[in-house]
Symmetry: C2
Subunit: 451 residues, 2 copies
């Protein structure tokens, strides 16, 4: 070994023995010191590098502890066989951002964060950070009680959900909660039969992924054609034209009747349930029924910030024993600090005020977008749904497919979501939450130019 | 309906039509208005309650939208069949805190949070909250790039891990990451064979749960008796006597040799890898090998706060294509705000300083605990391992089983974790991280009194 080549870095904060160790490791890694090579004795190492014998010994001891060096009694130190080859640079992952420059994005999952009360949130975070005792443990796997209490009240007030804090489970996003729900149902409703779930068309890939990975049989259904052979778990998103669609009161009632008659459980993903602009929000299915067969999912991604991963599930009382069995097996995924901050935020009434402000803002954007579409497209566009959610669904009178039209729009810098592709009435979803108010008119103008 | 019984709450902020609607809903829910009951006409409602006809109409429209009321053309309004029965109070879940009062807890999962730099963390949170654009979207499902870059550097510096940011996946805890890892391995290593994993004794229930739910075959193994028929995925926790045990350099080398010879993947759960008190921490297996067959898991629960749910996985480059396939199917579980805060915290060197402080503190507690055990128990106690992790493993010279002895300790208010139960050398784990320095001696004194 060319230990003589070692040059100490006198500016480094690392002690000398660590620096020498790194040099030797590097030589072993690079193959310059193949396994079995004899290393300098302690005395020689100390002499060559003009270090103390203690430093030399500390260095070799550390290398032995790390497995880079072996010592043979009476013989000395040897480079160990550590199976190293120099690291290949990591493969650059495929995919990523390759789309042309998007100037106006009607296809994103963004919200309007300009209204987010960051200072207020910061205050609640600071308050939560003061609770050292609570923060030094792992917290309740079900979620902090303070937040579950606040949610029991808030979900009742805002969505008509009727439940006790014991029925609520907190999680970092709907997927984490679906893992737990899947386990609970496998231990109860599907304890003796193959687990099956059917999602309302067009389904929801990220939920289906969880079920499939847990070996559920996954299918789709439509409210219009409900067959008796449907599975005992139906997944619907009654207030959201994007992940499912907005169900009419009649359809809601039918669904609940079906659930009662067929002893079917309904997994109600109440995504965007708060956002109904031209009438008071419709009560959740959970609140319309006795809740015995409804598993309710609520999320704060659209109400606060998508970057805050906070969701909750409400289990029917009958499934709580099965949850108890699984309770300790699933660590809480949501940050305790953010849970406590949200609990304070809700209890002080800030969430209610914030949602009110958001609804007002989105209603304005919604109205402006409709006005612009009507002004520029006149009779060529048909607005199919706009009353709720953060997306508007439109149909165009156009002989081309929605895919081609979306491509043309993208070339102009406007991104839209094509859905029903067939002409003469190709359909699109336009997400209006994330786009700035002042961008709506120019974006629609551009769409008109290329459609 | 006794609509005459309605009394408006003049102090309520709810508009009148909402208050009336709530009253009617309550009557429907309670069964006082059975399905099909005819409701007062608009004119009558307005007259009885002395409200405008518009208010009455708004009220009924809302009740119809919510599905509580149906209107029949030319006939009027009727209570709908909404399948309601008044909510039963939720069953109080079984379990919960029933243990006697614990005065000194050697069995918890707590850390010492007195050193946590809360003010500094708050500053990083505030800084992150300023990035509105980033926070208004869902963020990178793989985790924020800034944090992955910081982690690539930090994990190299602190644990010898060698990887590019592209290989890192962030998640809210190890379970969330294991879900993704399971999916990746099913699409690559186990694409054509039944998925099997073996965990080093005594295993890790919360990891096993994830694998089992994903239909993996789960077994245990011991390093001493590695059989050629072991599965192609081994789960070890080389630096942690609690979840696995501290492996010697020789055992580490053997494990890596096995991995190379049998083309076996190693899932290295580097829990508490930083906490080695009486020598520099040993490099991770990932860092000792070329990393091609190591999946590395790191966590910040013990380094910062358990209540901060931030963990990361490092995939070998060869598994990145399989990850790309699954990338969009798993939403990020960790809060973007906390990810960005941690990135800043690491980049500024605060994490390194904090870990140094923690190590110093835990080393002191560790030393004090050993001194107290030796002083009070003299030759009766044998300290089996103490060099690393946050737990000390001890054996007692005692004719009773560790379960009985743990029970006796609990009666005195001291909680310990019994492991090997058989006398004459029952074994225990004592967690020393969460207990206060000044509590160590009194706790050991109490143990001596009852053992």
């Amino acid at each position: 070994m060319l230990i003589e080549n070692f040059l100490p870095d006198i500016f480094s904060k690392e002690p000398l023995y660590v620096q020498i160790g790194q040099f030797i490791k590097q030589q072993i890694r690079s193959g310059q010191l193949p396994p079995g090579t004899k290393l300098p004795s302690l005395r020689r190492l100390a002499a060559v590098l003009q270090i103390s014998r203690t430093t030399a010994e500390t260095c070799y001891n550390q290398l032995m502890a790390e497995g880079f060096v072996e010592s043979l009694p009476q013989k000395g130190y040897y480079a160990a066989d550590i199976l190293l080859s120099e690291k290949k640079p990591a493969a650059k992952p495929a995919g990523g951002k390759t789309s042309p420059d998007v100037q106006y994005d009607f296809a994103n999952n963004y919200i309007d964060a300009t209204t987010f009360p960051a200072a207020l949130w910061r205050r609640h975070i600071s308050r939560a950070l003061r609770d050292r005792e609570l923060l030094s443990g792992y917290g309740d796997p079900q979620g902090e009680l303070a937040l579950r209490q606040a949610l029991a009240e808030y979900s009742h007030e805002s969505r008509g959900v009727s439940c006790a804090p014991e029925q609520i489970i907190i999680g970092a996003g709907v997927q984490s909660l679906l893992e737990i729900i899947s386990a609970v149902l496998l231990d109860s409703v599907f304890a003796e039969s193959a687990p099956c779930v059917s999602l309302e068309e067009p389904g929801f890939p990220q939920a289906e992924e969880i079920f499939r990975r847990n070996h559920w049989n996954v299918s789709h259904f439509t409210i219009e054609a409900m067959q008796p052979e449907l599975p005992r778990l139906l997944y619907v998103s009654p207030s959201n034209p994007y992940k499912g669609r907005s169900l009419t009161p009649e359809q809601r009632r039918n669904l609940l009747r079906w659930s009662r008659e067929h002893q079917t459980y309904i997994l109600e993903d109440d995504y965007n349930g708060e956002f109904r602009y031209f009438s008071t929000p419709v009560t959740s299915l959970q609140g319309m029924s006795d809740g015995d067969h409804i598993l309710y999912l609520g999320s704060f991604s659209r109400l606060l910030l998508p970057s805050l991963r906070l969701s909750y599930a409400v289990l029917p009382p009958g499934l709580l024993p099965a949850y108890e069995k699984n309770r300790m097996l699933y660590n809480q995924t949501a940050s305790t600090i953010e849970q406590l901050a949200l609990a304070g935020f809700i209890t002080e009434g800030s969430l209610r005020r914030h949602v009110k402000k958001l609804k007002h803002l989105y209603k304005e954007k919604n109205t402006l977008l409709r006005q612009c579409l009507q002004r520029y497209f006149e009779g060529q566009v048909h607005i199919l749904s706009y009353e709720s959610g953060l997306h508007m669904r439109i149909a165009l009178r156009n002989p081309e497919s929605s895919l081609i039209l979306a491509g043309k729009a993208l070339e102009k810098g406007v991104k839209v979501i094509p859905i029903k592709t067939e002409p003469p009435h190709p359909e699109f979803l336009l997400s209006f939450a994330g786009i700035r108010m002042q961008d709506i008119e120019p974006a629609v103008k551009l769409l008109k130019e290329c459609w």
